[in-house]
């Protein structure tokens, strides 16, 4: 009896302590993102957004730890949309994005007095993938891809030989990213012509590893997902060269970087908040990011931009900082 009482009493005490603690700990200064580092705690940079861009940002943050030990960089994965939402409210310093900011999102930023700069940091190659036992498909044109994936194909274009008669009379098992992902938007816009314009009857998943398993397990499968996932599973999958009008090009680090693998390479972005850019440690971080994104992107499975493209982004950022320095733009 006594022991149970003590146990419960202990819980009550802890609970009351927690309640008291909350009521006076409302805005913990050291963890707020938009405060300056005057309270002696570590300086913070808060980043959120796309889970596609995340591996690059994580790599940069990881390496940056060695450069600046007292700067804490945290990265979230709320999605490009969720990231922009927080960004537009000033809750984050940098937003990772796998698509450019939309008009309405930009308008919300403006309403809240936030100006920003868009910086490209790397490329993501979208590969068309087939099963290794598929010996009939070597290259495919954008027009043929459109025929397979457009909305009217649902229920009508079901078999391989409806695309080219010499192909097998078997059902095409389609695999692709989920409809809420930037990858899906980009693919449909590049191939079918309009973002979101796609047949509704394909196997979708947000997790590209699941798509890998799907395509690897079915001789008649056809999928599209990030090049990185092919490179990590080369013994289970086969690449298809895509003809965007200038001949068939196989996706690779080189062909994505120099732009010949088109139209299926897409840029990845970070957006930097003007209020954050006013802080010295953020500026240094962004500069470090642009300096190292190329190598780190390659390491994690994305593709570096060309050196001149990075230089252009660095100049873009420097110009942005100059406009911030001008008194007329004071918030």
């Amino acid at each position: 009896m006594k022991k149970t009482n003590k146990f419960n009493l202990g819980l009550m005490a802890l609970f009351s302590a927690a309640v008291l603690f909350t009521s006076c700990g409302g805005d913990g200064g050291s963890t707020e993102n938009n405060g300056t580092a005057t309270d002696g705690a570590a300086m913070e940079i808060s980043i959120d957004g796309s889970s596609t861009v995340f591996p690059i940002t994580e790599a940069v943050a990881e390496e940056y730890r060695a450069e600046a030990k007292d700067v804490r960089v945290t990265v979230g994965v709320s999605g490009t949309g969720g990231g922009f939402k927080k960004f537009s409210r000033g809750e984050t310093d940098i937003s990772d994005a796998s698509r450019p900011i939309k008009d309405e999102e930009a308008a919300t930023c403006k309403e809240n007095g936030i100006s920003y700069i868009e910086l490209s940091v790397a490329y993501d190659g979208l590969a068309v993938i087939i099963n290794p036992e598929n010996d009939w498909l070597k290259s495919i044109t954008v027009a043929e891809l459109k025929k397979i994936w457009e909305p009217s194909a649902k229920g009508t274009i079901m078999n391989w030989n409806q695309i080219r008669p010499e192909w097998p009379n078997e059902k095409i098992e389609l695999y692709g990213p989920g409809t809420a992902s930037g990858t899906f938007d980009y693919f449909t816009e590049a191939i079918v012509g309009e973002s979101g314009s796609c047949r509704a009857d394909f196997n979708a998943s947000e997790d590209d590893n699941i798509l890998v398993t799907g395509v690897a397990g079915n001789k008649y499968a056809l999928g599209f997902f990030g090049l990185a996932y092919f490179e990590e599973n080369q013994n289970k999958l086969k690449l298809v060269a895509v003809d965007g009008g200038k001949g068939a090009v196989t996706p690779s680090q080189a062909s994505v970087m120099d732009g010949t693998y088109a139209p299926l390479s897409r840029p990845l972005f970070i957006y930097v908040n003007s209020k954050a850019a006013a802080k010295d440690h953020v500026v240094k971080f962004v500069e470090y990011y642009l300096e190292n994104a190329g190598d780190l992107a390659n390491e994690v499975g994305y593709i570096s931009m060309k050196p001149e493209e990075y230089t252009a982004q660095k100049t873009k950022f420097a110009d942005f900082l100059k406009t911030l320095g001008a008194p007329a733009t004071a918030q």
Binding site: G178, N203, E206
Partner: protein, 297 residues
């Protein structure tokens, strides 16, 4: 005299605190309803309720947009019903077995082991369904698709077994021994005692556990998101991909969709539909339970 008064004050204070605790649940519901209603308001301004309820397709993220909730709702129901079909017979049998048949030591050891089933992270269950259960099912029926509601439903059922077996066993355990002895004294077998005396007596607890298990299944997100597919289809076929309301909400809220857009607000409309649906079901089951509840002592 003064000591008595302060005790009474203490009682009132405590009652007040306890009431506040209970009131939190009401506040939570109000909060949920407020958020769902205010955000889906934007949705219903653009989409007619009649379309929402009767359209047979759900394609908000495609260019040709349909906003019929029925495919998502049938997906949710399909997986939940399959889960219950697995968990109810197994869970109840286990509860009865552990309570009346099993030796004490066995019960003490097995009950906590089964509770671990409820603790496995749902992400793990999801992949188990996708990578183990589905291929296994495909080896028996090759026409089963890689994503399907049968796998997800079965695994969900496994996950909720402890809700019924443990809470149900607790309820059976609490039935006064006098009833048990009376039943055995009249020559009844364990089976007859369990079904004719114990279960009716413990019905309140058992039904509560079933309702809890059902609620858990209908609100489950990860298992269905990973294994059941992302293809909303109005179907009762457990071998094809479908999408549940919960999996759709997660997909959109963590994706790249622009917050505040019509496409984004669909998640609130879907959430509202789920909330209303479970509310109606809960009302029905509450009244059924009340009617058949028995009280002893």
């Amino acid at each position: 005299m003064s000591k008595l008064i302060s005790i009474r004050q203490k009682e009132t204070l405590i009652k007040g605190f306890l009431f506040a605790c209970a009131a939190i649940t009401l506040l939570t519901t109000l909060g949920i309803i407020w958020v769902l209603l205010s955000e889906s308001y934007y949705f219903f301004q653009k989409v007619a309720i009649i379309d929402f309820l009767t359209d047979t397709e759900w394609t908000p993220l495609f260019t040709e947009k349909h906003f019929g909730i029925m495919p998502l709702l049938t997906g949710t129901l399909l997986t939940t019903v399959i889960a219950l079909l697995v968990a109810l017979p197994l869970g109840l049998s286990i509860a009865i077995y552990l309570n009346e048949y099993a030796p004490k030591g066995f019960r003490k050891a097995v009950k906590p082991l089964l509770e671990i089933l409820a603790a496995v992270p749902t992400v793990v269950y999801g992949f188990f369904a996708l990578v183990v259960v589905t291929p296994f099912l495909q080896s028996i029926w090759p026409s089963i698709s890689g994503f399907n509601s049968l796998s997800a439903g079965i695994v969900m059922g496994i996950m909720i077994i402890p809700f019924i077996s443990s809470l149900g066993e607790d309820a059976l355990f609490a039935v006064p021994n006098t009833l048990r002895q009376a039943s055995y004294g009249m020559g009844a077998t364990r089976l007859q005692t369990s079904f004719r005396v114990l279960i009716p007596s413990a019905s309140s607890g058992i039904i509560a556990s079933i309702i809890l298990a059902f609620s858990r299944a209908i609100g489950e997100t990860m298992i269905v998101a990973v294994a059941a597919g992302q293809q909303p289809q109005l179907t009762l076929d457990p071998t094809v991909p479908i999408q549940t309301i919960t999996s759709y909400i997660v997909q959109v809220s963590s994706g790249d969709v622009q917050h505040g857009s019509l496409e984004y607000n669909t998640i609130f409309a879907a959430g509202l539909a789920l909330f209303v649906f479970t509310f109606v079901l809960n009302n029905i089951s509450f009244w059924i339970n009340k009617k058949y509840r028995q009280e002893y002592e």
